[in-house]
Symmetry: C2
Subunit: 219 residues, 2 copies
Amino acid sequence: MSADAGVIDLLGMLAYGELLAFDRMAADARLAPDLGRQARLAEMAAWEMANYRRLANRLTALGADPEEAMLPFVTALRTYHDNTEPGDWLEALTKAYVGEGISDDFFREVAQVLPEGVLAAPDRALVLDVLHDDGYADFAAGEIRAAIAADPKVANRLSMWARRLTGEALSQAQLVAQERSPLTALVLAGMSGGESVDVLFRRLTTAHTARMTAVGLNN
Amino acid sequence: MSADAGVIDLLGMLAYGELLAFDRMAADARLAPDLGRQARLAEMAAWEMANYRRLANRLTALGADPEEAMLPFVTALRTYHDNTEPGDWLEALTKAYVGEGISDDFFREVAQVLPEGVLAAPDRALVLDVLHDDGYADFAAGEIRAAIAADPKVANRLSMWARRLTGEALSQAQLVAQERSPLTALVLAGMSGGESVDVLFRRLTTAHTARMTAVGLNN
């Protein structure tokens, strides 16, 4: 495998992730209980497209077609979203909070550990930069905490929902890992400094549990 | 009526129009025949939110609450969109091309004719600036023309669809005019230089017909 194929896979998956995050957040904005929150979520969705544009431009600069680079990830990511359609505003926020938390952690780890020869500095900077800033997580966390404070039973329902989300995400991630050897090889290359995939996985789990606890949900 | 109430109505209606245009274009992006077009429409939708932000900031600066300023227009605009749900990609593009064309023409006329004492220069500049640029219209026009070239029967179907859109838009516009006296007074104030609403209406119709002809549709 050439390092470039893995990097293009990485950027392509991130680009499609942005496009799909836009799509989902735009749809979720309709579930908002008032116009102010609807606008806030819509603005966050719009921000994903700015990141999409940067990734698409970088793919083009690397000689790749953004559409072709995204295509291998369409089925897995769409299946994940179709299987985890939020039923209301709180489920939508929990899904984004949990799902983007894990996915951002994963890409941050990968970008940080890959050696310069595999992931060039501008690509590393771009990947770290397009990961969601804390604005969305803070907004979602505030809404979830307030809902649990108003009705403690909500915690149980959302905890179960979050477990369903992580189960479905893991299942689709496995499919991607099996089908996309360039991306898998890239991730494994990042582990070559003695780190095993297990260690990465454990770190992601710890961070996920901390995020759940922070808003009053049980893992 | 104070001039300010009319201006706040104007900015509030534009702000909600941006939020709803975002919502509709984001939904329409799902109808796109490929990822490239989907991304293109999603990027145009995201742009609406940048305009929304500018209008919301201006409303706040004028001492108005953006959410309250938008609320009076929710029912009419939502009814319009709910009654004109596009069935496919071409209907979605035709709707945006026709609907935003008329609505932009209307707001441009109003902003241009209102005297400085009624609409302050910064507000006039803002209104003119947030009106859709030609990027979207050009994109939609290109798609519609290509579809008609590939299958001339499409022209008839889309022409009928466009007539339904303008009929529904007129019906909702009348309701807004009746219910929102500050906005209606503002528009009428702009006509005081001898212009009648009829003349404005005729100009809007002429521009609409030209837009239809330009893409091969019949009025």
